[in-house]
């Protein structure tokens, strides 16, 4: 038989043209991965980008002799915050209010969208500039605001590329890493109306700067996310590379910050640990170029109205679960996706959520209360590279296994799963492994059955059913005539 090429196998499946990053609507991971796997240019872009970041990260981590101690401290700090989350959030609210800010509590995405729209209406704002925030993507804020008559302008370069090009983020830090330079040139030329734009980085950033400066100087309302909230002082911290965030934080009159409740840190001094870990893990830099910190309102300096919207949206349902709670330690550095061999092949769109990669595989199903995205905990070979690089020591494989157990407990009750070949096989295997004689009988039956598929060269080239998933790219050696157990029994008999 002729070896079947990978792309021919993939061609059998239906194609989804546009990535869907809404977990409630996205297809299961194995299906969503297919169009990406076929897009060799996109895979090359992704692999190149994360290989570069990975190498920079590895170099900078190696120069920190206290890296493991920093990781341990960071995970302790986050655990402390999570164990007393209610108290720290209330402390944050009190300190922020004392400094002139207003804190709003949003239980879910709809709640947060409504609060933000009301705040914008109070400001009579029909335009808003935005600092990159994945949390706003999580609650699908932009389409909601646009539908309600508010134009949104992203100011992070990658987010501009995606917004103008109508693309979807495929990474949480470098969100347009799947788009290459000539694609950026095309998007900018078309949407900014620039003729003869070159694809030199200088020309592209100059075009973006012109576009942005107009917005910075004319739009008086801004929306940001938060990397950290400080309970002790009521401060908000945002780290970024471009300085466009700093513009949004200083020029507008009104600032609305949207932050997940897990972003709170107990003390200002905790930033010392977090900032050392975050920049190295995220972009492979010792320090990110811009770290902005602000506390409430300062008369005559920066925004004069400041609101914080604290978002739950499924987060509190993760609290108190022994294994899963560590998910909320995440500081969104993306080191796990940069290290992940699965993400390296599929990029972010296959994960059906704005949170891709290993962290997305554990975070998304939990934020969705295990109603959607149940294929994600299985989108991992459990290689452990994510845990190894995680700056806050989230044992992602351990959480994946916990979620797999929860998904399986849900699914095995469903009638439709009863005859699913994998479920049937695993139930049968359990009976077989409970008695050695049953195991040996099953081995003999398996050998007899597989003999039918075994060629003269002793190898199996094609199997039916779920086995076909294996043989589409891999052969399988036929079962040997004698198991080890049989050989050992024979040998004992002979030597007696």
């Amino acid at each position: 038989m002729r070896a079947v090429a990978e792309h021919e196998v993939l061609a059998e499946h239906e194609v989804i043209d546009r990535p869907i990053l809404d977990p409630a609507l996205a297809p299961p991971f194995p299906v969503a991965a297919l169009p990406v796997l076929r897009n060799l240019q996109l895979r090359r872009n992704v692999a190149h980008a994360i290989d570069v970041i990975q190498a920079k990260r590895a170099r900078l981590v190696a120069e920190k002799p206290d890296w493991q101690a920093l990781r341990a401290s960071a995970s302790r700090i986050k655990d402390e915050a999570l164990q007393n989350l209610g108290a720290y959030l209330e402390q944050f609210e009190a300190r922020c209010a004392a400094a002139g800010g207003t804190v709003h509590w949003a239980s879910d995405a709809a709640d947060a969208r409504r609060i933000i729209l009301e705040l914008l209406r109070e400001e009579k704002a029909d335009e808003v500039i935005k600092i990159k925030t994945m949390t706003s993507a999580e609650i699908q804020l932009n389409p909601f605001l646009e539908a309600n008559g508010v134009r949104t302008y992203e100011t992070d370069l990658a987010e501009i590329i995606l917004q103008l090009g109508e693309g979807e983020p495929s990474h949480i830090v470098v969100s347009a890493l799947h788009v290459n330079r000539s694609q950026v040139r095309e998007i900018f030329a078309r949407r900014m109306g620039i003729e003869n734009l070159s694809d030199e980085p200088e020309a592209l950033t100059a075009a973006a700067r012109n576009y942005l400066r107009q917005k910075f100087l004319s739009v008086p309302t801004a929306i940001s996310g938060a990397n950290f909230l400080i309970a002790e002082t009521g401060s908000v911290a945002v780290v970024e590379s471009e300085g466009n965030g700093r513009m949004c934080l200083t020029l507008p009159r009104t600032m609305i910050t949207l932050a997940g409740i897990e972003k709170v840190l107990p003390r200002f001094a905790d930033l010392e640990v977090m900032l050392q870990l975050l920049a190295r893990s995220a972009t492979g830099e010792r320090m990110n170029p811009y770290t902005s910190l602000w506390t409430g309102v300062t008369p005559g300096d920066g925004p004069q109205k400041f609101h914080v919207v604290l978002l739950d949206n499924g987060r509190s349902s993760i609290l108190g679960r022994k294994t899963e709670q560590q998910t909320l330690r995440c500081i969104r550095c993306a080191a796990c996706m940069n290290a992940c061999p699965v993400y390296r092949q599929t990029g972010g769109h296959a994960y059906g959520s704005v949170y891709p990669g290993p962290i997305g595989a554990i975070l998304t199903p939990q934020l969705e209360q295990m109603r959607h995205a149940q294929s994600l905990p299985f989108a991992s070979s459990l290689c452990g590279a994510c845990y190894e690089v995680c700056p806050v020591k989230i044992n992602i494989p351990e959480v994946l296994l916990e979620l797999r157990a929860r998904v399986t407990d849900q699914e095995r009750k469903q009638v439709s799963r009863f005859f699913d070949s994998l479920y049937l096989g695993l139930r049968a295997a359990n009976v077989i492994f409970s008695r050695a004689w049953l195991f040996h009988a099953a081995q003999r039956m398996g050998r007899t059955a597989l003999r039918f598929f075994t060629r003269k060269d002793g190898w199996i080239h094609a199997l039916p059913g779920i086995g076909a998933k294996w043989t589409q790219t891999r052969d399988l050696r036929g079962l040997p005539k004698q198991t080890f157990h049989d050989w050992w029994t024979d040998r004992q008999r002979r030597t007696k």
Binding site: P30, P341, Q345, A350, E388, L422, N430, F433, W459, T483
Partner: protein, 250 residues
């Protein structure tokens, strides 16, 4: 020294030559090998697919079976990792105190093959002869869960005649991942293709590892490609001598 061999379910069924090699190797080093006929599986497949209750019953079975063993040797990193990393959680959730105590007493006596040779027996030169170009694939469980580190390299470097070719991107997964290889067959195959590019670039005759699961994955694709390179468990290299060369099947 008496060692009990836990061959693992898939080695017993698919790779008996690995078990025979472990027996030959250990006996040559003066270890008395025993094999408990009641053994089946460590429960990894069930644990990794979310069948926790089933994984628990197999874990309990294994702990009971080896409670009085002097040492248990397992030629599979992922099964050792299953026992070390997942059993305590399963017993915490579903077991009782007696079982937890029994497990705590057993776990220090469980060894992956290269750990047993280097740490327990204190040998690196096992007297092997294998005159071939070989590259070593570090399985993810051996690399990260067991932290095998230099052990496999030290063992291989003492094999006479063996030309060890380093493998690029040693820490990158081959894409097997148990049921991942069929549940996410296309992604798994894409990962495998990337791994094979590195493996084939070594120009080695053999790719070896301490896990037959990765080797089955890579070997299956190498055979499909007619690549000419073969896979072989490290136990078979270490068992091989001038008088009794390696047993090659398939």
């Amino acid at each position: 020294m008496r060692a009990s061999l836990f061959i693992t379910c898939y080695n017993d069924t698919l790779f008996p030559e690995t078990g025979r090699a472990v027996v030959r190797l250990l006996e040559r080093l003066g270890v008395e090998v025993e094999f408990r006929a009641d053994q089946t599986c460590c429960g990894q497949m069930h644990a990794n697919t979310g069948f926790r209750g089933e994984a628990f019953s197999q874990a309990k079975r294994l702990v009971r079976l080896y409670a009085d063993a002097e040492a248990v040797v397992i030629p599979s990193s992922s099964c050792v990792a299953m026992i070390r990393d997942q059993y305590s959680g399963l017993f915490e959730e579903l077991g009782n105190d007696a079982l937890r105590k029994e497990f705590a007493a057993l776990v220090p006596r469980i060894y992956e093959l290269s750990e047993f040779l280097v740490d327990k027996l204190g040998v690196e030169d096992v007297g092997a002869y294998f005159p071939h170009r070989v590259t070593y694939h570090a399985s993810c469980h051996g690399l990260r869960a067991l932290q095998l580190g230099e052990r496999p390299f030290r063992l291989l470097s003492k094999v006479r005649g063996l030309d060890l070719v380093p493998l690029e991107n040693l820490d990158r997964c081959c894409g097997f991942g148990g049921t991942f290889s069929v549940k996410n067959a296309e992604v798994s195959s894409a990962m495998l293709a990337v791994k094979l590019d590195d493996v084939l670039a070594t120009g080695a005759e053999f790719c070896t590892a301490l896990d037959n699961s990765c080797l089955m994955h890579m070997g299956g694709a190498l055979h499909r490609k007619n690549a000419g390179m073969r896979t072989i468990h490290m136990a078979q290299i270490l068992a091989s001598t001038e008088h009794q060369p390696v047993e090659l099947i398939g």
